[in-house]
Amino acid sequence: MSEGIETQEESLFEAPPMAEQERMCEAILFASAEPVTIKEMNARMPHGCDAAEAMVHLRKRYEGRGVRVVKVGDAWAMRTAPDLGFLMQKEMVETRKLSRAAIETLAIIAYHQPVTRAEIEEIRGVSVSRGTVDQLLEMEWIRFGRRRMTPGRPVTFVVTSEFLDHFGLESARDLPGLKELRSAGLLENRPPPGAMPLTPSDEDDEEAAEGQSELFED
């Protein structure tokens, strides 16, 4: 029944012309500091509009301009062209200096996601301090992913769309050097043969215990 009404509405009110829809997307993206999804745009635009198509036109229009239309995950945003950064000294924000541990941890999460704490530790060869993970979580560059369906059900970490936005990435697939790492087999999870000193077995046990107590609570 509701479908019938919708069809009626579509035929009664024609969607605005594409040029007009493009203007609308432009205004919405321009006004928002946060990336906006196609779904949100469609919800705000008049009935029958196709924000996805309008965005194709808009993106083309802004090619080579001082402001660019960029894709961030499944959302869109307007950002100044990176080659003009030198003009923006006034707007520059001093980003908190990340420690070497935090930078490495971030990179490992980005390239290996979803990844458990134990896996990060195996790759770095040292235990990951709570503060490092907390800092990245606080910056909203990483978040918790799904629990790994292995004994102990450890939590995993993944990068966020804020991370993509900050580093100007359309998706995690566009991470620099990702393909090369993959073809070199460096993103595989190779179990160490026998007892290696750098396997965080203690951590594993701890996590397993945590996970189990959770299971019992259920």
Partner: protein, 265 residues
């Protein structure tokens, strides 16, 4: 020390020794044994895939040995790694023992090489990532984000079930009404106490407490029961306060009260 080790030590050039000493002084700057191994591996100046793990193990052991001479406290994981590398070194040098279980020296060495290569790769991409054009440094967001007015439209909803439950709630409340209605035939202790306080001053002689029942409460059994209980409880309360004396000749005999005079003990 074996002959091979001595030979090895002698082979280390002055520059390398200086570098190794710098490493020791800076041992706190390392992020664990793997990080140290990676740094040591740079002295080999080869592709990490072609690295000599045997040589690396010797370098590491030499490093730990030197740290001991300098009486530097090494964290436990550095020592665990040293012990393991010594074991690995012996496995790599000796011909494989067919009775020995577990992975071969080559397998262990290959995995360590993989770990080093992977850590190096992660460091490289981390550097590439941080060198990217970054928001707030190279590109910028809209300086004056427009306020999106959020128009809040509230619609209220209720289901038939809500409606019926609401009604049921009211009707159920009605069924509890006997509690209130019932007070008609209940004489409370407070009421009895108030009544007796007013009358007890005149009770110089022993009087049956039943004579204190309020008018109209003597005939209806339900009311009489309630009034009797309340009056008895009130008498006990007055006795406790030291206002009256109370007595009963025998079980089921009438209970009598009398005013207690001040100063009379």
């Amino acid at each position: 020390m074996s002959e091979a080790d001595i030979e090895e030590t002698q082979q280390i050039s002055v520059a390398e020794r200086l570098a190794a000493e710098a490493l020791i002084v800076d041992v706190d700057g390392f992020e664990g044994p793997l990080d140290l191994l990676l740094t040591l591996s740079r002295t080999q100046k080869v592709d990490l895939r072609k690295i000599s793990i045997l040589q690396l193990a010797r370098q590491y052991l030499a490093f730990v040995e030197k740290a001991k001479q300098l009486r530097l406290e090494l964290a436990a994981d550095y020592l665990v790694m040293a012990a393991w590398l010594a074991f690995l070194k012996s496995r790599l040098l000796l011909p494989p023992d067919p009775t020995e279980e577990g992975p071969s020296g080559e397998e262990l060495a290959a995995h360590l090489a993989f770990q080093l290569e992977r850590l190096q790769a992660m460091r490289d991409v981390a550097a590439k990532l941080m060198a990217r054009d970054r928001m707030g440094r190279d590109f910028f967001v809209r300086g004056i984000p427009e306020d999106v007015t959020r128009v809040r439209k509230v619609t209220y909803s209720a289901s038939l079930l809500d409606l019926m439950q609401g009604y049921a709630r009211i009707r159920t409340r009605d069924e509890f009404r006997p509690f209130v209605m019932d007070r008609d035939s209940v004489f409370t202790m407070e009421e009895a106490l108030e009544r007796m306080r007013g009358m007890i001053g005149f009770a110089g002689t022993w009087t049956d407490i039943l004579s204190y029942l309020p008018v109209g409460w003597e005939s209806d059994p339900k009311k009489r029961r309630s009034a009797t209980a309340a009056t008895f409880a009130a008498s006990l309360e007055l006795a406790k306060e030291g206002k009256v004396e109370i007595r009963q000749a025998e079980t089921f005999a009438p209970i009598q009260v009398r005013r207690k005079d001040e100063g009379y003990v």
